[in-house]
């Protein structure tokens, strides 16, 4: 059966981290009811995603790496044709220690729930099926399959790594590209200055299904992200995490600035940290003041064309959003 389109790490001869022992905290995570609190100190050393070919400073690959430390080796992964598939499944070098499958672009959530149903049918108690997809694979081409999968109530985790454009194909606009951002299909033109649409409210769209657990996160707040992954794992039903994951290549900032950019976006109010649980929205952070959006925008090449009026519009949109969040969600 050598013609099968599948390979594992042993066969592909990838080296690394095989002997690293999980910390005591990770061992405790498997033992059930007691909610683990993840910090930089108790994060397992064991790597599940390494040897891949992602760009330096890639926020998305870091999100996967950290999420897998929380989820552990039993998670079955489904990823669409996108950056993470392109950098980690190149025969004969495989970068996942876990079971993992590339899905047709539109069907990440469908394949992930198929995996869950298959494992359940074969008698595996409490299978852990996890989907990782970018903003395009989630908010655009994959939204139908995601909606159907949540609706079926299958237990699976869907993690959307949002880098605000189609990066794998060369930085084209997605449904989650923010107002003003230059992409290769919304360039900073003489008449139109980048994207003229706002980000789709993906988190709220997902929550509207009455999903068991959903959260937003940012790579600028890593502990918050990892603990939300743990909550998703423990919630017992379909769950969704929307994590803001900068792309230095697509956004035009230094590869060492990824985490700083991801922190600034939250601190400037252009992204928010929130949860949907038990049918209620809750803001995890509600800063009294925001840092200037200009500081966040101007360090990235995709926003460098913005004029004062554009930046004023971005502030206006932010303020309207926060007025809504503060008046409708639990603070």
């Amino acid at each position: 059966m050598s013609a099968n389109m599948s390979v594992n790490m042993k066969q592909s001869g990838s080296a690394g981290a095989s002997g690293a022992a999980a910390s005591g905290a990770a061992a405790a995570a498997g033992s059930g009811s007691q909610q683990i609190k993840w910090t930089a100190r108790n994060l397992p050393e064991q790597e599940h995603f390494y040897g891949h070919k992602a760009c330096g400073g890639c926020g998305e690959s870091l999100a996967l790496r950290l999420a897998l430390k929380v989820l552990g080796p039993d998670a079955y992964l489904s990823l669409p044709a996108g950056c993470m598939a392109a950098v980690s499944f190149i025969y004969p070098n495989m970068a996942f220690r876990n079971n993992a499958i590339i899905t047709p672009f539109a069907s990440t959530a469908a394949v992930a729930t198929g995996v869950a149903a298959g494992l359940k049918a074969l008698g595996k108690a409490d299978p852990l099926s996890v989907a990782f997809a970018g903003d395009g694979g989630t908010a655009d081409i994959g939204i139908q399959a995601l909606s159907g999968a949540i609706d079926r109530g299958e237990r699976f985790i869907y993690i959307c790594t949002d880098n605000e454009a189609y990066m794998n194909t060369g930085i084209q606009k997605s449904g989650l590209t923010p107002f003003g951002a230059a992409t290769t299909t919304t360039p900073a033109g003489k008449v139109i200055h980048g994207s003229i649409t706002e980000k789709k409210n993906m988190f709220e769209i997902v929550a509207a299904h009455g999903i068991r657990y959903a959260a937003t996160a940012s790579m600028g707040y890593l502990e918050d992200f990892m603990n939300k992954v743990q909550k998703a794992k423990d919630c017992g039903g379909p769950s969704y995490i929307h994590v803001f994951a900068p792309c230095p290549t697509g956004w035009g900032h230094g590869s060492e600035e990824t985490l700083a950019v991801a922190k600034q976006v939250v601190d400037s109010g252009l992204w928010y940290l929130a949860e949907f649980e038990g049918g209620e929205f809750r803001l995890n952070r509600n800063p009294e003041t925001f840092i200037p959006v200009r500081d966040y925008l101007k360090r990235q090449a995709r926003f460098k064309h913005l004029q004062d009026a554009d930046i004023a519009e971005i502030e206006r949109l932010r303020d309207a959003k926060w007025q809504y969040l503060r008046s409708h969600w639990t603070v």
Binding site: F89, A106, Q144
Partner: protein, 399 residues
């Protein structure tokens, strides 16, 4: 002991699926397949099947869920038709490339536009190149039996390919016939549970599936997949012989030649029209004409040598197509001509396109086809001014 029942083709398929004990069914309804998935849903809701039934939101997800479930070693079933088949088309080579033994019923139906819910075989012809085994059946009993045979075929490690079971929309899916339902214990004994394969995802041997292979490796994957698929022809004969020994019915493997031994004129058919053709052959034989029927049951892999072997002695060969490859001719016709040429057969051939959009194919149409073949055998096909090699049966106006 089998149980006799009065079933339509959809129900026959559903009973066949139930006997195979699939672990997961993911299906989206589409006319004329609906009664099959409704019946399966009823079995599940009544507790007669221990199956995870996934109520997917589209055919694309039906196949994607099947891929996910099959990738961990679950036996899976799905069913579709027409526009649904085209909607999931992207996922079909995905499943075959990943070597996933999914079995799918396809209720053959017309393709829009013009819209039409009735039967022809335009749909499957779009996906002949998808790397799936393509089987065609003539009646309800064959449909039920071939579901069971399909799993043996798909799950055999020599082939390890998905199987599409084509059944003519309405003519078969909605027609009631007496069908024998085999005993569950007999099917259990004949069809063992699917074992999780080495290339699938499992706890103790983590696997990366549906990988990327660049230009240094891609061609080898594709050619090996093709070579394994070719083995399905011989395997189908083996599976059928084993099935016949266990259940007392043989469907003859890739082709079923009927009264072809001394036939001068042979008509080749796929699917339900074979039944009508069988009657016409008997009638013409009774009138002293040397005619035969070659029922083609397997279209991928294409049994070229077997087809040529049967047709070798004929003076003229007709190929019935319930499809048009727009801009050329019927798809089966192209395949048969290639087979004959490769195997040195020189019999003249003619294409009869009929039954599109559910148009009835009558006995009279097939008698007329044999009359045309007689003209061809007698030399009418020679030269540029000869008889048109592509003929349309039952047209209401001039072609």
């Amino acid at each position: 002991m089998s149980e006799a029942a009065f079933l339509n083709g959809n129900e026959a398929i559903a009973y066949g699926v139930k006997l195979c004990r699939p672990d997961v069914i993911a299906a989206y309804p589409i006319t004329p397949q609906t009664k099959a998935v409704e019946k399966l849903s009823q079995f599940v809701q009544d507790g007669e099947m221990a199956t995870q039934y996934m109520h997917v939101e589209s055919e694309h997800s039906a196949m994607a869920c099947s891929i996910g479930a099959s990738a961990v070693g679950a036996r899976t079933f799905t069913a579709t038709s027409s526009q649904g088949l085209l909607y999931m088309a992207e996922c079909l080579p995905y499943a075959s490339g990943a070597r996933l033994p999914i079995v799918m019923m396809n209720a053959n139906r017309s393709i829009a536009t013009p819209w039409n819910i009735y039967g022809d075989q335009m749909d499957v012809m779009f996906v002949l190149n998808a790397g799936w085994v393509q089987l065609f059946v003539e009646n309800g009993q064959e449909a039920l039996d071939m579901v069971i045979q399909s799993y043996r075929l798909a799950e055999d490690t020599r082939v390890m390919a998905p199987v599409m079971l084509n059944i003519d929309g309405f003519v078969l899916t909605h027609t009631y016939e007496k069908v024998l339902i085999p005993d569950q214990a007999d099917v259990d004994a004949w069809l063992p549970r699917l074992q999780v394969q080495e290339h699938m995802m499992q706890d103790n041997n983590p696997m990366s599936m549906c990988i990327t292979a660049g230009n240094a490796h891609n061609m080898e994957f594709k050619v090996r997949q093709h070579q394994d698929l070719l083995r399905a022809e011989a395997l189908l004969e083996e599976v059928d012989a084993s099935f016949a020994a266990a259940f007392g019915r043989s469907w003859k493997g890739a082709v079923d030649a009927y009264r072809c031994d001394d036939a001068e004129l042979i008509l080749l058919t796929t699917g339900s029209v074979s039944g009508t053709a069988r009657v016409v052959v008997d009638e013409l034989r009774a009138a002293g004409r040397r005619v035969g029927l070659l029922k083609l049951r397997l279209v991928r892999p294409f049994p070229a040598a077997r087809v040529a072997e049967v047709l070798r002695g004929a003076r003229a060969v007709g190929v019935f197509d319930k499809n048009i490859s727009f801009g050329y001719e019927g798809t089966i016709y192209t395949n048969v001509n290639s087979a004959l040429l490769q195997h040195g057969c020189t019999a003249p051939t003619m294409n009869f396109i009929g039954g599109l959009g559910g148009r009835d194919v009558s006995r009279g149409d097939l008698v007329a086809a044999f009359d045309r073949l007689q003209l061809l055998a007698d030399g009418a096909g020679a030269g540029a001014s000869g008889i048109d090699r592509v003929q349309y049966l039952g047209m209401r106006c001039e072609a």
